[in-house]
């Protein structure tokens, strides 16, 4: 087995320059270790965030709005003409999604879909002489449970009790604290339409998101319709689809069909998803920079060894080692440094993850202290390993080629 001969020669030359080898290995290892640490934070937080987006909100929201105002007849008739209309007033039409019941039924029949009609609006919650404004949403508890995480976020009571209690509401933990409003208390809910309802708190949720905890209330759709004075009207269709990644296309299809503005979760969060791409690009540039610096170290040590070992190379060639054998020996040295760097890098990465796992901090807008969400999947380790091997073998390539081009006669003559 030739590789064993090559390995023994390569390894002996590396151990001969132990200190330089250790430095090169460390360079690679730090690159791999930091990559694992940074990328597991990055990808962990990205996955966590996307997870939240996908699970805590409907994948598609159809609203009773239109993306573009209806075209005036004159523009349709003369598409290329220069026409100026003055004092055009937007048309007043009855808000709400037409035939929402039919639409919900149709969507619900598609396999894997969950669809719910909802009515949103503003209200003021009044209790013990204190007021708080709130966004209210009228929902169907059974479906809301499948669409969002509010049922899991319940701290007291249950979302389903909206159904059994008459005039029940579910409020957030922030509102509960500020208004001293407890489970079972009766609060007054005042709508902009002038309706006032005495409603009973049947549940308190806590999401950690301050805006929701202080300002969101849930009630049954029919209660919301009464309160907002919009009988038989829903202004949102909230839809969950089987494959979240397909939501964008489905939303476009629904919008084309019904005309209502249909927003997928990707569209709503486009700016944030864009930031993730930039973030990943930054991370990979930094890691590449570290690896390039590390590969200079490898290039340096192997070049030195080649220069130092020209006599050994010449004698190996005179013995009958081929040029490719010599190249192989020095590429093997790069490979050894790469593998050692990879293993040590994995150890460093493991250590970094262990430390990061213990860090906690507070994010503005979130009530609870948080830790990093780390992605510990196999992928980071594999990418880090491939990075180190490519850098190491790539750096060994040039000196290895140079070694194979040594002309034994020149060296042997020179040595005498």
């Amino acid at each position: 087995m030739f590789w064993r001969v090559a390995f023994s020669i390569a390894a002996s030359q590396l151990t001969h320059r132990r200190r330089q080898t250790v430095v090169s290995v460390l360079g690679v290892a730090l690159g791999v270790g930091f990559f694992i640490g940074v990328s597991s934070i990055m990808s962990g937080s990205e996955k966590d965030f996307v997870d939240r987006l996908v699970n805590s909100a409907p994948h598609i929201t159809v609203k009773d709005e239109f993306r573009d105002p209806a075209k005036q007849p004159v523009f349709i008739r003369f598409p290329k003409a220069a026409v100026k209309l003055e004092n055009v007033k937007p048309r007043e039409y009855l808000r709400g999604i037409k035939n929402y019941g039919e639409k919900v039924d149709e969507l619900s029949q598609r396999p894997g879909y969950v669809a719910e009609a909802a009515l949103t609006g503003q209200a003021i919650v009044r209790y013990a002489n204190k007021d708080m404004s709130a966004s209210l949403i009228g929902i169907d508890p059974e479906k809301e449970k499948l669409l969002t995480r509010v049922a899991e976020d319940m701290r007291e009571g249950r979302l389903e009790r909206l159904r059994t209690a008459s005039d029940g509401i579910v409020i957030g933990s922030g509102m509960s604290t500020r208004l001293s409003l407890k489970l079972g208390d009766l609060a007054s809910v005042v709508s902009p339409a002038g309706q006032v309802k005495r409603m009973k708190v049947v549940g308190i949720f806590h999401t950690g998101n301050l805006m929701l905890d202080y300002g969101q209330i849930y009630m049954l759709l029919k209660d919301a319709q009464v309160l907002l004075d919009k009988p038989f009207i829903a202004n949102q269709l909230r839809i969950k689809v089987p494959d979240p990644n397909a939501a964008e296309g489905i939303a476009a299809a629904l919008e084309a069909r019904w005309g209502y503005r249909s927003e997928s979760w990707q569209e709503v969060n486009r700016d944030i998803l864009g930031l993730f791409i930039i973030r990943n690009a930054i991370m990979y540039s930094i890691v590449s920079a570290i690896m390039i610096v590390a590969s200079f170290g490898i290039f340096n040590i192997i070049s030195t060894v080649v220069l130092e070992k020209r006599r050994d190379i010449a004698i190996l060639m005179s013995m009958g080692f081929r040029e490719a054998d010599i190249q192989y020996i020095f590429l093997m040295q790069g490979f050894i440094v790469g593998v050692l760097g990879m293993l040590m890098g994995w150890a460093i990465g493991w250590g970094i993850l262990a430390i990061l796992g213990q860090v906690e901090f507070t994010v503005p807008g979130m009530a609870d202290r948080q830790g990093f969400v780390l992605d510990k999947s196999f992928q980071q380790w594999a990418i880090g390993g491939v990075f180190s091997l490519v850098a190491a073998i790539g750096a060994a390539w040039i000196p290895a080629r140079k070694a194979s081009q040594v002309h034994p006669v020149d060296i042997i003559r020179g040595a005498v």
């Binding site: 087995m1 001969v5 020669i9 050994d312 004698i315 005179s318 080692f321 081929r322 042997i412 040595a415």
Partner: protein
């Protein structure tokens, strides 16, 4: 145990009109129009003043260098036009080199150095390699040094290790470039004897460059070079 070379009959190494010109700014002619036939089992020395091209001729015969004109034949087959890999394969299996400087790899033990060419050829198992390496060292009287590192050995011992290494793959042809050049009289004598025994007892063909008259006299035949050309080719009557 050391595997005496099967005697191969006839002309083993042959140079036909070999010329080597170094292609520098001013071309340098190393050897010119060399005609030489070395028969199997011959012990030939190449002598000549320094700069006469004797080492250059040896490297050409040993396939370390390729002639500018003419051809070198090994075992009756031409080596002209062979790739560097084919030349390396021939060097590995049929030729053994001994240089003035021992050229042992400093990181490896004496035994491991001897085993390297055999390992490259890869015909023997690890155990057989070790046995053969030890047998070769024993043949050269340095078996007790096997586990030492080269820098713990004396000059004469190192040169014997180098000879043992050249015999690893049982080559028919041993090429030596001033093998006693760095040795004192006593060690020179030992090395000279080894070469004579390799030729006489084992039937190996030996071509050695030397400037020592005693070494040249120990050989069966002496080729004298001046200015890259053969001026005399004498056989000793034993």
């Amino acid at each position: 145990m050391t595997g005496a070379a099967r005697p191969e009959e006839g002309v083993l190494v042959e140079a036909r009109h070999v010329t080597r010109i170094l292609d520098l700014a001013v071309p340098v002619r190393l050897v010119h129009d060399i005609e030489l036939k070395v028969e199997s089992g011959e012990f030939v020395t190449i002598t000549g003043p320094s700069g006469s091209g004797k080492s250059s001729l040896l490297y050409l015969l040993g396939l370390l260098d390729v002639p500018s004109e003419g051809e070198v034949l090994i075992g009756g087959k031409t080596t002209a036009g062979l790739s560097s890999n084919e030349l390396a394969a021939l060097r590995l299996s049929r030729l053994g080199f001994v240089f003035q400087f021992h050229f042992l790899l400093p990181e490896f033990s004496v035994l491991h150095n001897v085993m390297l060419p055999m390992q490259r050829l890869g015909r023997l198992s690890e155990r057989e390699l070790t046995e053969r390496g030890m047998a070769l060292l024993d043949r050269l009287g340095i078996a007790d040094q096997a586990e030492k590192m080269p820098d713990q050995l004396s000059g004469g011992q190192r040169q014997r290790v180098a000879i043992a290494r050249s015999l690893g793959n049982d080559p028919h042809i041993i090429l030596a470039d001033e093998p006693t050049g760095n040795l004192d009289t006593k060690n020179s004598e030992v090395v000279r004897d080894i070469f004579r025994r390799l030729a006489e007892e084992e039937g190996r063909t030996i071509i050695a460059v030397t400037h020592e008259p005693a070494f040249a006299e120990a050989a069966m035949r002496n080729v004298h070079l001046v200015d890259g050309e053969i001026v005399s080719d004498t056989r000793h009557p034993d």
